[in-house]
């Protein structure tokens, strides 16, 4: 028995799991979300709830519209709590494999492939991340969810929206990667 626990612990300490094992874990989390709280997994919606909260406080007139009143009402929602958990869960994952880069030298950008394509400048990565995140969040607003909130949560309920979204995502993702990588594709 002790041996089994030891090998499980050893697997937890590994930096990268088999995507099948990690995916199965997420599948169980998805089932539990519906079972325990009759809710779906999601990440992007929480940002909109928080943005709405902030917007209503600063510029109530601008945020007094259909979207923020009915579709994405602001507040400390289920999704916001999940987003906080997501952040610390990711940290926990890195901590268990001793790859947490908090305060380390290359913490701001440690991706070799990124540096090879875009250059070594840290600010470039942060600017691109910021711009890209705006695109992501805006797109998630149009589609009604992101990879987790629509593609996975919707997909597991066999919602047609999820599969339309996945198709669109891969189509433009492949084209964008082709443009960025060109001959290195």
């Amino acid at each position: 028995m002790k041996k089994i626990w030891k090998s499980i612990w050893k697997y937890i300490r590994k930096e990268t799991w088999s995507p099948y094992v990690a995916g199965a874990l997420l599948g169980v989390v998805g089932i539990l979300a519906v079972w325990l709280s009759n809710n779906l997994l999601g990440a992007s919606g929480a940002f909109e709830n928080l943005a709405g909260l902030l917007g209503k406080a600063i510029a109530p007139a601008t945020f007094d519209n259909m979207y923020f009143n009915f579709i994405m009402p602001p507040g400390f929602t289920y999704g916001v709590a999940m987003l906080i958990g997501l952040f610390f869960g990711g940290m926990l994952g890195a901590a268990t494999s001793s790859t947490l880069k908090w305060g380390k030298k290359d913490a701001a950008n440690d991706d070799k492939q990124w540096k090879r394509i875009f250059g070594p400048q840290v600010w470039k990565r942060w600017v691109l991340a910021f711009v890209g995140a705006i695109i992501l969040e805006y797109a998630a607003g149009i589609a009604g969810g992101c990879t987790s909130g629509l593609a996975i949560s919707g997909g597991m309920l066999l919602a047609p929206a999820a599969f339309l979204f996945i198709a669109g995502m891969f189509m433009s993702g492949i084209i964008t990667a082709l443009i960025i990588y060109r001959r290195r594709y």
């Binding site: 590994k14 990268t16 995507p19 094992v21 990690a22 995916g23 199965a24 997420l26 599948g27 169980v28 998805g30 089932i31 519906v34 079972w35 325990l36 809710n39 400390f76 999704g79 709590a81 999940m82 958990g85 997501l86 952040f87 610390f88 869960g89 990711g90 926990l92 994952g93 890195a94 494999s97 990124w114 711009v131 890209g132 705006i134 695109i135 992501l136 805006y138 797109a139 149009i142 589609a143 009604g144 969810g145 992101c146 990879t147 996975i152 949560s153 997909g155 919602a159 929206a161 999820a162 979204f165 669109g168 995502m169 189509m171 433009s172 993702g173 492949i174 084209i175 964008t176 594709y185």
Partner: protein, 93 residues
């Protein structure tokens, strides 16, 4: 309140799974679009299959009821997906 605690705990496992699958890294996300690393698809599809079986099984047993299914509006879903893919391949998040 209880629901928020559940959300927090599930979120931790969610983030943990993403990190362990390596999906918190730029090259993992972008390489699926270059067909050189299929981890994203393997991860997503495994999660989908496991939760589909679980959810439909539990519903058949009468244990759970499905929450609101994400709305289908063809143009919006596809357009959103198309824009989303650009952001995803650009930033790798």
């Amino acid at each position: 309140m209880t629901t928020l605690v559940i959300a927090l705990v599930l979120g931790i496992f969610f983030g943990f799974a993403l990190n362990k699958a390596g999906l918190t890294k730029y090259h993992k996300i972008v390489n699926v679009f270059r067909f050189t690393d299929m981890a994203v698809l393997q991860f997503m599809m495994t999660a989908l299959v496991v939760s589909m079986i679980g959810l439909y099984g539990l519903r058949a047993l009468g244990v759970i009821e499905f929450p609101n299914i994400p709305a289908t509006y063809v143009v919006g879903n596809i357009l959103g997906g198309l824009v989303f893919g650009v952001g995803m391949a650009l930033t790798g998040y």
